[in-house]
């Protein structure tokens, strides 16, 4: 029974890692840069949902939609103001910009909401589901359901909409995408919007489990490990990588000496990098001439 319970809480934690990892991968695939402010986008999403739901007293669902929507806008504006001017600059400079953005987001949220941890009031807070001897918190079920829903809608979006196809095209071959008339700049802005809103969803989902404070974005580092484990550049890989790390963490917390659960993510990362340097799922395309 213990195992099933650990598995479920590990999966829900893993889903959150996976969603943030998805944010990393989306931006990486489209623009070939790593956004180190991804965790902080998640943190902003959590704070915004807190503002809409607990401060402005929006109905819960409406508040969440408003938070995700405003994060999409923030993502798009960030790309437009900070990332687009960096086109053509060395990767290292772009990376520094995203690290700087992370600092700005953290400082700004500390300034706006204060450094005291906040809680998001959810209609499902504190409720538990009991089947035989297994006790599952509602927030875990919500996390799992929401992740499945979100991934399914992303899959549908990429498979069946013209914009989704254009996004795939732009990430696979930027030059050819331009030649068929796709505005790669617009696509990049859109990718940032999607990525920021996926991260915001992760932040909202984890808010009832952990607390909302400006430092919560640091789990972005574990999500980054998850993205690499899954093979940076693979969308399903990001979720699977998150799940692996989330579940392993829970088990390590119970069965290994204390302290291990914090480093499990990186131990797994090392093992995967040694055994399969390109990650578990990879979509490599080597151009043949």
């Amino acid at each position: 029974m213990e195992i099933i319970q650990l598995l479920i809480s590990g999966m829900s934690q893993g889903c959150v890692y996976g969603l943030i990892a998805l944010g990393f991968v989306l931006i990486y695939k489209a623009t070939e840069m790593v956004n180190f402010a991804q965790g902080d986008l998640m943190m902003l999403g959590a704070f915004l949902s807190y503002t809409f739901v607990s401060v402005l007293n929006f109905p819960f669902m409406l508040g969440i939609i408003a938070a995700i929507g405003s994060m999409a806008a923030i993502g798009a504006i960030t790309e437009r103001l900070a990332i687009r001017p960096m086109i053509g600059e060395p990767h290292f400079s772009v990376l520094m910009v995203t690290i700087g953005l992370g600092f700005i987001f953290r400082a700004a949220s500390g300034f706006i909401w204060g450094s005291e941890p906040k809680t998001l009031d959810t209609p499902y807070a504190g409720q538990i589901l009991k089947i035989n001897n297994i006790i599952i918190g509602y927030e875990n079920i919500v996390i799992l359901m929401a992740t499945i829903l979100l991934c399914a809608s992303l899959v549908l979006f990429f498979r069946f909409t013209t914009t989704g196809k254009a996004m795939q095209a732009a990430s696979q071959n930027q030059l050819a995408a331009m030649y068929v008339g796709i505005s790669v700049r617009k696509i990049n802005t859109l990718v940032w919007a999607v990525s920021a809103s996926v991260s915001a969803a992760a932040g909202i989902l984890i808010a009832p489990v952990s607390l909302i404070d400006p430092q919560m974005g640091f789990i972005g580092i574990k999500a980054f490990a998850a993205a690499i484990v899954g093979g940076f550049g693979s969308l399903p890989g990001a979720i699977i990588g998150g799940l692996i790390i989330g579940i392993a963490e829970q088990f390590a917390g119970l069965y290994l000496p204390s302290g291990f659960s914090e480093v499990t993510a990186y131990i797994i990362l090392l093992i995967v990098l040694i055994a399969r340097p390109h990650g578990i799922f990879t979509s490599m395309h080597i151009k043949k001439v």
């Binding site: 254009a166 795939q168 696979q172 030059l175 995408a177 331009m178 030649y179 068929v180 008339g181 001439v289």
Partner: protein
Amino acid sequence: MLKARNLESYYGPIAAIRGVSLEAQTGKISVILGANGAGKTTVLKTISGSIEPQKGKISYKEIDITNIEADATARMGIAHVPEGREVFPFLNVEENLLLGAFPRKDPHVKKDLETVYEYFPVLKQRSLQQAALLSGGQQQMLAIGRGLMLRPEIMLLDEPSLGLSPRLVSEIATIIKRLNQERQLTILLVEQNAKLALDIGDYGYVMEAGRIVMEENCERLKQSTDIKEFYLGIKDKGQRGRRRWKQRKTWR
């Protein structure tokens, strides 16, 4: 239809083309010949807008398109089929082709898809296969087919024969000729394969070291001794049965 005047483009400090002027006439096939590094591809890239020229002017149907980006010129009806089979590797053939019609809003896309399949029957057989798994020649056909899906008024073709077998080269040449004749498609073709280019072209430009050194009707280009000697490899025996070793091009 398309006029370029006195174009100059640079890669960093290096001038790739210097003062190129050319014209693609409506319904004709214009060809640009030249060796490696002559600047042929750069001319096409400058026209379609993926490189900004430092100097010069490009007009398309009397509209100035000098500083317009590549995605915008595509939406205006200029299809650039780049060198080296730039397909979308993880999308299947049909998705690749449909993306060619990305900017179009009209309802004839399905019909055009059938037309492309008719030109390239291989693509129909493989319509659900990932583009990365196609052979080189098939990828080239896919790139041309994707360009057609735009319903372009002019097509910029960059080295369609690159790396193809002789049979495929003549197949592609036939299709280019057919596109020109059946759909009155204006074509600006860049080629290293001088024989192919002169056979299907109407008007030709010869480029060397970033400049246009010769322009002439293709029929007359074929007769020119310089072209024969340096591009077609037809060698004059010489008066004493030996080649003159100091043969020079007349434009040098």
